[in-house]
């Protein structure tokens, strides 16, 4: 999948991935790839600034954690982030439903009246 296609949805995708629990940057990118069946391979460089942007917007919070002797910055969803994710999901469903309705091959249903 082209990264340009994903750009407009990057925030919602990150929020959705982080909603499963606190994750560090690499794990977020891995989850995006795994959950999309390998279809979403974003350039990693775009994800870290996005994480900082979402944190600045109050949708994510972050803290340092010590794992196997390594310090890692871990991100988790805030309450505001949960609400935002809910909104984004509802908007996406509506949008996807509408696009699906238009893109699906029209079923033959007899002659259609064309307005004059």
């Amino acid at each position: 999948m082209r990264s340009e296609t994903l750009k407009g949805h990057l925030d919602a995708l990150i929020l959705s991935v982080v909603s499963i629990g606190p994750l560090h940057g690499y794990a977020i990118i891995e989850q995006l790839r795994l959950r999309s069946g390998g279809a979403m391979t974003l350039p990693e460089g775009t994800v870290y600034p996005a994480l900082h942007r979402l944190e600045a917007a109050g949708l994510l919070s972050s803290y340092w954690s010590q794992t196997a002797g390594r310090r890692r910055r871990v991100y988790e969803l805030t309450r505001r982030g949960e609400r935002e994710l809910g909104t984004r999901r509802a908007e996406w469903r509506e949008f996807a439903h509408a696009v699906e309705a238009v893109l699906s091959p029209a079923e033959p249903s007899g002659p259609t009246a064309v307005p004059a």
């Binding site: 940057g25 870290y48 600034p49 996005a50 310090r71």
Partner: protein, 299 residues
């Protein structure tokens, strides 16, 4: 041990004004990522650092806007309390006519500075708050717009400090004048206002350090009105300025009528309206109220 990539990223982050704890955090996050995946597609260090600068610059500009507005509100309330409690320390700002001597000269000069500075602070505070209101959910602002927001915040806070200091100066200069308010409480209240204004300085400093480069226009006074701007004003910032100047002139005239001095009110209204237009013409491009490019587009 750091890789050449991290070293270069560190230098690029410094070059765009990202330093201290945030600098260390970003380098550590990227270091962690490269340990997990040495072949990660992180892009050129300069481009990555610039992305961070755009994100952080926007966030800090918005924080500076909120901090400046909040401190200006506190200072405004304190100033209002001073004005009500003293029955108008700024009266000497009115042209009294005749020769001015000693403390009266200083008091008049200080009160004049206070009136002008507080109006500039009020205008900048309102403009910065309006722009924040419409752009608060925008993740990355154009660099030009972020700079305008920070500039307005700095000018607003600076004018606020100047205005409050001038009020205190006027009170001190008039302390021996019969009937003048006691200088002590005015100085105390002014100090509270200055402290409130100074509290916003760290946010302003942080916002000026980062150098975003995101493309896009700075916007103008019509963008400050956001969805409130009627269609007739779109791309016509000078119409907004004219309407505001007329409103100011009308308000001053009405105030004059209420004080049984309509001619003085009208004269002050005309002067204030013209001052508003002069300020718009001279400071407008710098404070993002209008731009020559915008005028060309509108034309």
């Amino acid at each position: 041990m750091t890789s050449p990539y991290q070293q270069q990223l560190g230098r690029e982050l410094t070059a765009v004004g990202i330093r201290g704890a945030l600098h260390r955090r970003i380098v550590a996050e990227i270091d962690d990522h490269l340990q997990c995946d040495p072949d990660a597609l992180l892009g050129e260090p300069r481009a990555l650092a610039q992305q961070f600068a755009d994100v952080i610059g926007s966030a800090r500009a918005k924080t500076a806007a909120v901090a400046a507005f909040a401190s200006l509100v506190v200072a405004g309330v304190v100033t209002l309390v001073i004005a009500v409690a003293t029955g108008g320390t700024l009266r000497s700002a009115q042209p009294a006519g005749g020769p001015l001597h000693g403390p009266t000269t200083l008091a008049t000069a200080a009160a004049t500075v206070a009136v002008i500075a507080l109006q500039v602070a009020l205008a900048c505070g309102l403009l910065v708050a309006l722009r924040w209101l419409w752009r608060r959910h925008t993740g990355v602002l154009p660099a030009a717009e972020a700079r305008v927001i920070v500039r307005r915040a700095i000018v607003g806070v600076g004018a606020g400090i100047t205005g409050v200091a001038a009020i205190a100066t006027a009170a001190v200069a008039e302390r021996h004048v019969p009937g003048a308010p006691s200088a002590g409480p005015v100085i105390g209240a002014s100090a509270v206002a200055v402290v409130a204004l100074l509290a916003s300085v760290p946010s302003l400093r942080a916002a000026t350090r980062v150098r975003p480069l995101a493309e896009g226009p700075a916007g103008d006074v019509v963008d400050d009105l956001g969805p409130l701007a009627p269609a007739a004003l779109k791309n016509r910032p000078w119409r907004v300025a004219l309407l505001v100047a007329m409103a100011i002139a009308l308000l001053a005239t009405v105030a004059g009528v209420l004080q049984a001095d309509p001619y003085d009110g009208a004269a002050r209204g005309i002067v204030d309206g013209l001052a508003c237009l002069a300020g718009f013409a001279t400071l407008g491009p710098w404070l993002g109220l209008w731009s020559r490019r915008g005028r060309e587009l509108a034309g």
